[in-house]
């Protein structure tokens, strides 16, 4: 192990491992710091079409089949009281995954590409003025604290949001979909739709902000989760197990039917106060990726995909400009790109809940529908020439993330010491 790397990455989930895999492949020296032992459980088990593209670029397609990950034709959305339903196909080959093994797969690919891995806990980010210069860590299993120098530091620490906690990135502020709680586990013996559609994500919704997901993560196991507003949870349940049982019985008649013979094969977990954003999330020689700066809402499975797409994007931007005097331009471009995509995704989710009837009609209109299919697939980051983002912005008014706040990239950002 060296004292100095081109890039130090904190966290080896999908954001960190993907960034490392791309950067190391381009010949940069990359050290990743991880505190957890792998494999470990994680939520976020469905990939969009754009994440499928990243998986294929990393050459992992054959491994996905070996791991028994279902190939995902698309998303079936079953409406209130199961009275209506629509299907959104994926535009690119993509998969449903078990995160314990998927995250390990990505990390192994990064190591094969040249990433070094250090098992350690991050203590403090080191700076020279505003410029990040390295990371102080405590190695796992004891040993002396050490300082690792780097030109670029990437925070991929997930919901821990290390750089925000360090006061380097902006403060963590609750975002639009806070106040929701998710309860989830894995099940066997849940009947699925026939044929390839067995591998679809199925979303079931009820009244405002009450919904559930079903994601097949292998040929026999389904991830199932229920999302409720905090107030509902207080009224109907006193434990996560009860909340999940309540959701199975009450969210949608279609769920109750499917779960009559199901049995649970994982413990029940809960997830709350999950919607937040951190701004600014890039600065002189540092950037936050994925959950380390923003998490909207799990409904359209954007979490892992956005993390991987952001990781790919920043790696491509940085390697293209690595020989420049500073990294200001690629980081600024990256922040703008991220804000654009995340804000459109925010509006898509907001509009879906606020105007479900109209969302349904727009899904019948071929021109709009094709755009929504692309947005579901991850095209939020490339909205050029699309009509739907403007339509959502106009309908949401004040609640649109596209107009309420200027993108972080337009806010003053000190990029030099």
């Amino acid at each position: 192990m060296q004292e100095q790397y081109d890039v130090v990455i904190l966290g080896t989930g999908p954001a960190g491992a993907t960034a490392a895999a791309y950067l190391a492949k381009e010949g940069l020296s990359v050290l990743a710091v991880e505190k957890d032992d792998f494999p470990r459980f994680h939520i976020g088990e469905s990939l969009t079409g754009s994440a499928g593209l990243v998986v294929r670029e990393l050459g992992l397609e054959a491994a996905m089949a070996e791991l028994d990950y279902p190939k995902k034709p698309g998303v079936t959305v079953i409406g209130h009281q199961a009275k209506n339903e629509f299907f959104v196909p994926v535009m690119e080959q993509t998969w449903q995954v078990r995160r314990s093994t998927f995250d390990a797969l990505l990390r192994d690919r990064a190591i094969e590409n040249g990433m070094e891995l250090l098992s350690a806990r991050a203590l403090k980010v080191e700076r020279d003025g505003d410029v990040v210069t390295g990371l102080r860590v405590a190695p796992a299993g004891g040993g002396a604290e050490r300082m690792i120098g780097c030109r670029m530091f990437i925070d991929a620490s997930g919901q821990a949001a290390f750089l925000s906690a360090q006061g380097v990135a902006g403060p963590r502020r609750g975002d639009a979909f806070n106040g929701q709680m998710a309860f989830f586990s894995h099940y066997e013996d849940v009947p699925r739709d026939p044929g390839p559609f067995a591998n679809n994500t199925t979303l079931f919704y009820s009244e405002l902000h009450h919904w559930a997901w079903m994601i097949p993560i292998s040929s026999t196991v389904d991830s199932f989760g229920v999302v409720l507003p905090k107030e509902t949870y207080k009224q109907v349940a006193s434990s996560p197990e009860e909340a999940l049982a309540w959701g199975i019985a009450n969210i949608n008649p279609e769920i109750a039917g499917r779960f009559s013979k199901a049995h649970r094969v994982e413990k029940v977990r809960a997830f709350r106060e999950y919607s937040y954003r951190i701004d600014p999330f890039v600065g002189p020689n540092w950037a936050c990726l994925g959950d380390a700066h923003r998490f909207l809402d799990p409904i359209f499975s954007y979490g892992v995909s956005f993390a991987m797409m952001e990781a790919r994007q920043i790696a491509l931007k940085m390697t293209a400009c690595w020989n420049d005097a500073d990294l200001e331009e690629p980081l600024r471009d990256f922040a703008k790109w991220s804000d654009t995509g995340q804000n459109i995704a925010h509006d898509l989710i907001k509009y879906f809940w606020k105007f479900p009837v109209f969302f349904g009609y727009q899904m019948q209109n071929v021109a709009l529908r094709n755009e929504v299919i692309q947005l579901f697939g991850g095209a939020c980051f490339h909205p050029e020439a699309m009509r739907v983002p403007a339509l959502f912005r106009e309908a949401l008014g004040e609640e649109s993330a596209q107009i309420v706040r200027p993108p972080a990239s337009q806010q003053p950002m000190a990029l030099s010491a």
Binding site: F86, F87, P194, G195, Q362, A395
Partner: protein
């Protein structure tokens, strides 16, 4: 008919109070925020649009079904007025089937007529790449029943949905046509449309015409897709049952759909119109029922069946029996779907057809 804004908004208020809120909405006024109060859901929206169409002769395009036009009844009134003021007197086709066609034209599908000796055939068309898909409707259904699928194909795939003679906007002079007449007429149309092999996609009893064409002219058919049809063990009692269902639109819709759409007055009139046509009965009464028993024999064309798991008109066994008669054929089942997958679940239907064509 010149209606003032005040009249329209007061009628809309009455309708919403009585028919949507069932008398529970005495406080509702033209500026009550409909969306914020959750008054409009997917079912009440269908009723409201049907009322507007019936009362004011205004068909609101999907494009216009946006929150800004439905924030309150005042906004809906404004939307209606923009239509009635733009409407030239007599410009609206009187006949419901023509209205359905002109609505699809506004979405970019084309209404085309083809002449074959002694006949004029109407069809709906989407432009796009070859091979052409020839879409045959179910017994009694107009070509517009294929519109949900065709609009998704528009610009990508050339497709033609035919109105069978005596149905939709296709004429049939003289005797009511038998199913063999439909086979011959469809072949004549096909020869005019293209010399290249086509993908033949047929719904319900329309599939009887499709399989006969595939049997007679395998050179013309690249692939065959049959939906909502199978090998019926006892055609006579099946036909009796279907006719008794058809007496009541409610019963028919209940059997044909997993979740039946609300029976609007327009839909009711279209259904009644179909059942009044002699062609509806002559299709099977003149030799069709006998032919059913051998429908799926001697088919060499690659064939896909797409079936709704909740089809109460053609059972699972009938689909599987038909599939077993054709070498290499397979069935794709669609969950929560009745007798008309292209209407009830157009997206999964298309997904399966495209997947099948790619596999050839």
């Amino acid at each position: 008919m010149e209606l003032a804004a005040a009249d329209i908004s007061s009628e809309l208020t009455d309708f919403t109070n009585h028919d949507i809120l069932h008398g529970q909405g005495q406080d509702l006024t033209p500026d009550t925020p409909l969306l914020e109060l959750g008054i409009l859901d997917s079912l009440s929206m269908v009723s409201l649009l049907a009322f507007i169409e019936e009362r004011y002769g205004v068909k609101i395009a999907e494009e216009e079904i946006a929150p800004k036009h439905f924030s309150d009844l005042q906004a809906v009134t404004t939307l209606i007025l923009t239509h009635t003021q733009n409407q030239e007197a007599g410009a609206r086709p009187a006949d419901e089937l023509r209205q359905l066609v002109s609505l699809q034209q506004s979405y970019g599908l084309r209404s085309v007529e083809v002449e074959t000796p002694g006949r004029r055939h109407h069809m709906l068309q989407s432009d796009g790449a070859e091979p052409m898909w020839l879409l045959l409707p179910a017994l009694g259904n107009p070509s517009t029943s294929w519109a949900p699928v065709m609009r998704a194909l528009s610009g990508e795939q050339r497709s033609v949905a035919l109105d069978f003679g005596g149905f939709g906007l296709s004429e049939y002079k003289g005797e009511a046509p038998s199913y063999i007449d439909h086979v011959e007429a469809t072949l004549a149309v096909l020869d005019q449309l293209t010399a290249a092999p086509v993908v033949l996609v047929a719904s319900s009893a329309g599939a009887m015409v499709a399989v006969e064409i595939a049997r007679r002219r395998p050179d013309k058919i690249h692939a065959l897709v049959v939906t909502g049809f199978g090998l019926i063990a006892d055609p006579d009692s099946w036909w009796r049952e279907l006719r008794s269902l058809s007496v009541s639109p409610e019963k028919f819709m209940e059997a044909a759909y997993y979740s039946p759409p609300p029976l609007t007055p327009v839909l009711r009139r279209i259904l009644a119109g179909v059942l009044a046509r002699p062609a509806y009965y002559s299709f099977l009464d003149q030799g069709g029922l006998e032919a059913m028993r051998a429908s799926f024999d001697d088919i060499q064309t690659p064939t896909l069946f797409v079936a709704g798991e909740a089809d109460r008109i053609i059972g699972r066994q009938a689909v599987e029996d038909a599939c077993a008669r054709i070498d290499g054929a397979c069935v794709s089942w669609i969950a929560r779907c009745g007798h008309f997958p292209p209407v009830e679940r157009p997206e999964p239907f298309l997904w399966y057809v495209r997947d099948f064509l790619q596999s050839l």
